[in-house]
């Protein structure tokens, strides 16, 4: 119990609120008037609108949103179906949004982008280039792309860009690379890019996080792009259709400088034991490896145990067919820093009840005691 005179001042309440989720902040807002006035802005700073199916679901209520619109910093509009709601909101948002997430690049979205060009840092667009149904000519598509990329260029402080189904034509390539030079994180999914091979050797110095998933672009140009990101921290990569992983292998093994990447995600690009172990031999600082359905077997295990035992913290080996109980136990035994481990093949009971000749080691027991939930059960 606190004594009467130790009410927390508003600035402290805000600091506490920053470590809370929205639903927890909502409880705090109902505590008292002073708590409400301190925390209501924070409550409304991150809003995700769910307006689906002809007004049957409206969260938060549009009136409440309009009332609190000045507090919004992060706005997710990707589940707003009716453009009417966007039309009422769009004119009211002025240089306040830091994060914006939308389903489509529409006129309203364009208006929001223009009005928040000095504040936006992060932009997500799920279907970047969906043409009006009436006229889907190539010319119109190119016009739309031109408008889109010049708008993105105007976002002065943008450092995180996530685009699905984006198109980069030849005439936008230069602009695209200029934008990339400013980015900290880039995600491109199912896009179509004429080339990712930058015209100059100028590196993308800011890029830390890169996700390239199933983009229609020549694989060698993607690798060229990756190799020009010297400070890359996290890489996720899925090849497009049947483009093979061999060139990625070649690229990683022939790099002159040691690779700094700490997180690799090859979901959707299953590899053989030999391919994956070759890649593992090039990433001495790896902390996180996500390789569901790859043939993670003896060679990979050997790489991890011998060279990554001091660094690896997360292993996702869901659906890896060659995983055996024996390999799992070796990994658990040797990798000291492992915090998350997924196999999908075993339930935690496998580890908890080892056969008599395999007494659980201290390391294993420690892992269980600290965080028993980290062993995910099969999906």
């Amino acid at each position: 119990m606190m004594s009467q005179d130790t009410t927390l001042p508003p600035e402290v309440l805000i600091l506490i609120g920053r470590s809370l989720r929205q639903s927890d902040i909502a409880s705090c807002v109902l505590v008292s008037r002073s708590w409400r006035s301190a925390l209501e802005p924070l409550l409304w700073s991150r809003v995700s609108l769910v307006y689906e199916k002809a007004d049957s679901i409206l969260f938060p209520h549009p009136d409440a949103v309009l009332k609190n619109i000045n507090w919004i910093l992060s706005l997710d509009l990707s589940r707003v179906v009716d453009p009417m709601h966007m039309q009422t909101m769009a004119p009211l948002l002025h240089n306040q949004l830091v994060h914006l997430s939308v389903a489509q690049y529409t006129a309203e979205v364009d208006q929001i982008l223009v009005q928040n060009c000095a504040s936006l840092r992060s932009f997500t667009c799920c279907y970047s280039f969906v043409l009006p149904k009436t006229s889907s000519t190539a010319e119109l598509s190119s016009q739309l792309a031109t408008a889109f990329w010049s708008r993105i260029t105007e976002l002065k402080h943008l450092d995180t860009l996530h685009l699905k189904a984006a198109v980069v034509y030849q005439e936008h390539v230069e602009r695209f690379f200029d934008i990339c030079r400013r980015l900290w994180s880039l995600t491109l999914e199912k896009g179509s890019i004429v080339t990712m091979n930058p015209p100059t050797k100028e590196p993308f110095l800011k890029m830390r996080r890169l996700e390239l998933r199933e983009n229609s672009v020549v694989i060698h140009s993607q690798l060229q792009f990756i190799s020009q990101c010297p400070h890359l921290d996290q890489l996720a990569w899925i090849s497009f259709q049947d483009a093979h992983v061999t060139s990625l292998l070649f690229h990683m093994t022939t790099q002159s400088e040691p690779c700094r990447i700490r997180s690799l995600d090859f979901t959707g690009t299953p590899m053989t034991d030999r391919e994956l172990s070759t890649i593992l031999s090039c990433v001495p600082n790896l902390q996180c490896l996500i390789v569901p359905r790859s043939l993670f077997a003896e060679l990979c295990c050997e790489q991890v145990v011998n060279f990554l035992d001091d660094t690896i913290e997360e292993l996702d080996l869901k659906g890896c067919p060659a995983m055996t109980k024996h390999l799992v136990q070796i990994l658990l035994l040797i990798c000291k820093r492992l915090k998350r481990f997924q196999t999908g093949l075993f339930s935690p009971s496998v580890f908890l009840a080892p056969s008599t000749n395999e007494i659980p080691t201290k390391q294993q027991l420690k892992l269980f005691r600290v965080e028993p939930l980290m062993f995910m059960t099969p999906e």
Partner: protein, 159 residues
């Protein structure tokens, strides 16, 4: 160089200058009152028990790089890492921790303030408004109408 600090209940502590300077307030006071350093610096809002604990924290973190004020809204910045010492340090009762937060706030010891607020957030997490009121001994000063209105406005957060 040494600096003396005086708690609200009159206890005097002598610490190294760079330790005391983890407090933004003291750092600023030392700049202003350079000539007049014989007198202890009075800390009117901080009791001796809390001050001792704050000093213990500052002694341990004296060589840490200074963190700049993270006023800007940036969710992907990693929170300050807690080391084992910090974890040990935060094993105190709730009351003490809240007193420490207030002390860190009035002395502006930023890393300790952040540490304490994360601890407080962990306690408040998943509590109902009534439970939070009980914990801090706060009176419910809403009218039933206001209460209903806020309930209605915030229902989206339950999604």
């Amino acid at each position: 160089m040494k600096v003396t600090l005086e708690s609200s209940d009159g206890q005097v502590f002598t610490v190294d200058k760079e330790v005391a300077e983890l407090s933004v307030i003291i750092k600023e006071m030392l700049v202003i009152e350079q000539a007049n350093q014989d007198h202890p610096i009075p800390l009117l809002n901080v009791g001796a028990v809390e001050l001792a604990k704050v000093i213990e924290y500052c002694e341990h973190h004296r060589n840490d790089p200074t963190i700049d004020d993270d006023e800007d809204y940036d969710s992907r910045k990693k929170p300050i890492e807690m080391d084992d010492w910090d974890k040990q340090f935060t094993i105190v009762n709730k009351e003490m921790m809240f007193e420490l937060i207030l002390a860190a706030n009035s002395m502006q010891v930023k890393p300790l303030l952040h540490l304490g607020c994360r601890y407080a957030a962990d306690i408040v997490k998943r509590m109902s408004p009534t439970e939070i009121r009980d914990l801090f001994q706060i009176d419910d000063d809403f009218t039933p109408e206001e209460q209903d209105k806020i309930e209605w406005e915030k229902q989206w957060t339950k999604l």
